[in-house]
């Protein structure tokens, strides 16, 4: 489940991490190594324990069992102010009674950095998040996206070993979120600090991170690059949470694929063929069915197909030549689905 790395390159190391809140086990044994300079995502539905893991790394929660190491040092029992990490909070947690500059300088002031250096570093941090000139504003006078960037500057100005981000883009609208995804990625490359962020948005995790850990029920289901997690999900949960799973199992698997087990094919790997008698290539598998629903979404169309063998499969087709008028008329049509065998993978249930 995890690969062991040499100590000097490990920014965060979790071993047997557990946390119970009364009878509820929020984190049920997590082992994880995060390398220096990595952009790492912890992905999972709400209640999967990812935020609790983040809070244990930051020091806001004490683990029930297990250890947290930062840069090779055991910090499991240390208070937040004794750890070389900083956090960007989901609600930003800017101090409302302080100006933007006072917010950003707060950590430096605590560390007794001289005033001149403090000013300079705060100005530089604000420049790096494109907020130069906002020093005198109060958080209440900023937009959501600007507050988010102040929170980033306030954390980064301390040059922590690891930056923790708790659903950093959750409160932003879609357009801004997409902009910030790119911006965060660039920022991380520039400053070279390890970014560890928590999200429930699979697209965000896939587009931004170097590696992803998928959480479910307090455990890590899979760790890997976005491509690995998406193309080769190791469990049914990962297949379903990261993208559409399109599961074929039991008798259907025997009928369609000729072997037992549980299999999955991503919607965009499937081709929709209207000619039911068209020849199927050597390396391909195919199955027939009926289109139950057509969802036109501009750039692409989603077809929901009920296979004759049983399972319901989603097919995603780029709208290269067709328009909504063409595709919506296809409901109730019988079709053949064709896919490359290499794109079907077996998953553990």
């Amino acid at each position: 489940m995890f690969c062991v790395m040499p100590d000097q390159n490990v920014a965060v190391r979790l071993r047997g991490l557990r946390k119970s809140f009364g009878p509820v086990e929020a984190v049920a044994g997590v082992d994880l190594d995060i390398a220096d300079g990595e952009f790492f995502a912890m992905l999972g539905p709400s209640g999967s324990g990812k935020t609790t893991v983040l809070r244990m790394i930051a020091g806001f929660e004490t683990p029930t069992a297990g250890t947290v190491e930062l840069g090779g040092r055991d910090v499991t029992r240390l208070a937040p102010f004794e750890r070389d990490v900083n956090t960007v909070f989901q609600d930003y947690a800017l101090f409302p009674h302080m100006s933007v500059r006072e917010n950003v300088e707060y950590g430096l002031r605590v560390k007794k950095v001289p005033r001149a250096e403090r000013r300079e570093r705060a100005a530089e941090a604000l420049r790096s998040v494109r907020l130069a000139g906002f020093e005198q504003r109060r958080p209440a006078q900023l937009s959501g996206g600007q507050r988010q960037r102040v929170a980033l500057a306030r954390a980064l100005v301390n040059r922590p070993r690891v930056l923790l981000l708790d659903e950093p883009l959750g409160a932003l609208d879609l357009k801004l979120r997409e902009e910030m995804q790119v911006e965060l990625k660039e920022l991380q490359r520039r400053v070279g600090i390890t970014f560890l962020f928590v999200t429930h948005d699979q697209e965000e995790a896939l587009t931004m991170s170097d590696r992803v850990a998928v959480f479910d029920q307090g455990r890590i289901e899979q760790v890997g690059t976005p491509a690995e997690v998406y193309e080769r999900p190791s469990t049914v949960f990962v297949a379903g949470f990261v993208g559409t799973s399109n599961l074929i199992s039991g008798e259907a698997a025997e009928a369609v694929l000729g072997r037992p087990g549980t299999f999955s094919v991503r919607p965009e790997k499937l081709r929709l063929v209207l000619d039911l008698d068209a020849p199927v290539g050597d390396g391909d598998h195919s199955a027939t069915g009926r289109i139950a629903e057509v969802v036109y979404a501009g750039a692409a169309t989603r077809f929901v197909v009920d296979l004759d063998a049983g399972p319901r499969i989603v097919v995603l087709q780029q709208n290269l030549q067709v328009s909504s008028m063409d595709v919506t008329g296809l409901r109730e049509t019988r079709v053949r689905l064709v896919w490359d065998r290499r794109h079907e993978f077996s998953v553990a249930s």
Binding site: G59, F81, T87, A93
Partner: protein, 303 residues
């Protein structure tokens, strides 16, 4: 919709309504619709009774007090003389006894307020930030319960505790008065601070710790500035209640006198209502000065 159905929902059944009901319901509905359209009428309807109460009972009484303070009593017959005079205020300000009493009362009110802040803050913090939701409910009830008990019973309980052979054995006097008043008004300090801390997001405390601040600095730079308005709200209660008290000091104060006693004695034994009014104006004046000072700090802007 059946017009008989809205109106009295719940109690009477629509089917049993007498034939006249639909028209009355229609009228009521017309009234409701009219109110819905006229926000001003709605506001007037809601505010007229409370505002009348405030205007007559509160401002009216204050005005009457102020007017009375400029009258005097005939020294032989003891009857009211309704002619304007500054004499009462001159006496209050120039006679040493009254100045001493006024300053003593101010000192007591300040001491009670400070003691209550010091006791209430940790308590409110534990309630708002550390206790489980269940424990929180119980603690709120625990803070409120003493308010249900009679003032006199509580004051006499302290008298028993403070008597020279009692649990504390301090004897009676000003310290005893301050302790008793601090106890009596404590809930009025805890509850506003508790409410203020409830509104303070936990993430701000986490953020301060995350940026390297230990407890004391987090308190000084984040918690205190953001809950100061709540402390002020509480202090307005403890301060004004202490300034006006005359019963606790009678029970545990030994021979000490506060402004309240002077007012009471002048109304009762001496029968000098105008002088009592002039003395009673002192706490009102002190409160006005206090509120103005608090306003200048900007603490009330966030209320």
């Amino acid at each position: 919709m059946d017009p008989g159905l809205d109106g009295d929902q719940g109690l009477s059944t629509a089917a049993a309504s007498p034939p006249g009901t639909p028209r009355r319901a229609g009228l009521r509905r017309g009234l409701a619709a009219g109110l819905h359209r006229h926000a001003g009428a709605r506001l007037a309807l809601l505010l007229s009774a409370p505002l009348a109460w405030l205007g007559v009972a509160y401002l009216g009484a204050l005005a009457a007090l102020l007017v009375t303070a400029f009258w005097s009593t005939d020294s032989f017959t003891g009857e009211l003389v309704r002619t304007f005079t500054w004499a009462n205020f001159q006496d209050v300000l120039t006679v040493d006894v009254y100045r001493t009493v006024a300053l003593r009362s101010l000192g007591v009110a300040v001491a009670v307020t400070l003691i209550d802040v010091v006791i209430a803050f940790p308590m409110a913090f534990a309630m708002a930030k550390l206790a489980s939701p269940r424990a929180q409910r119980w603690l709120v009830i625990a803070v409120l319960t003493p308010l249900w008990a009679s003032y006199l019973v509580k004051a006499y309980a302290w008298r028993v505790m403070l008597s020279s052979d009692g649990l504390l054995g301090w004897g009676y006097g000003l310290p005893a008065t301050i302790a008793t008043l601090a106890y009596l008004w404590l809930p009025y300090m805890i509850l506003p601070i508790y409410a203020g801390l409830e509104r303070l997001p936990n993430s701000l405390l986490d953020a301060a710790g995350d940026l390297g601040a230990r407890g004391p600095r987090t308190f000084r730079t984040v918690v205190w500035p953001l809950t100061f308005p709540a402390v002020v709200a509480g202090s307005v209660f403890t301060f004004s209640l202490s300034l006006g008290d005359y019963i606790a000091v009678k029970i545990v104060g030994g021979r000490s006198q506060l402004i309240g006693n002077v007012v009471y004695d002048n109304i009762g034994a001496a029968g000098n209502l105008p002088f009592a009014a002039a003395v009673a104006a002192i706490p009102v004046l002190i409160m006005l000065v206090y509120l103005a000072a608090v306003r200048r700090t900007g603490a009330l802007d966030n209320l």
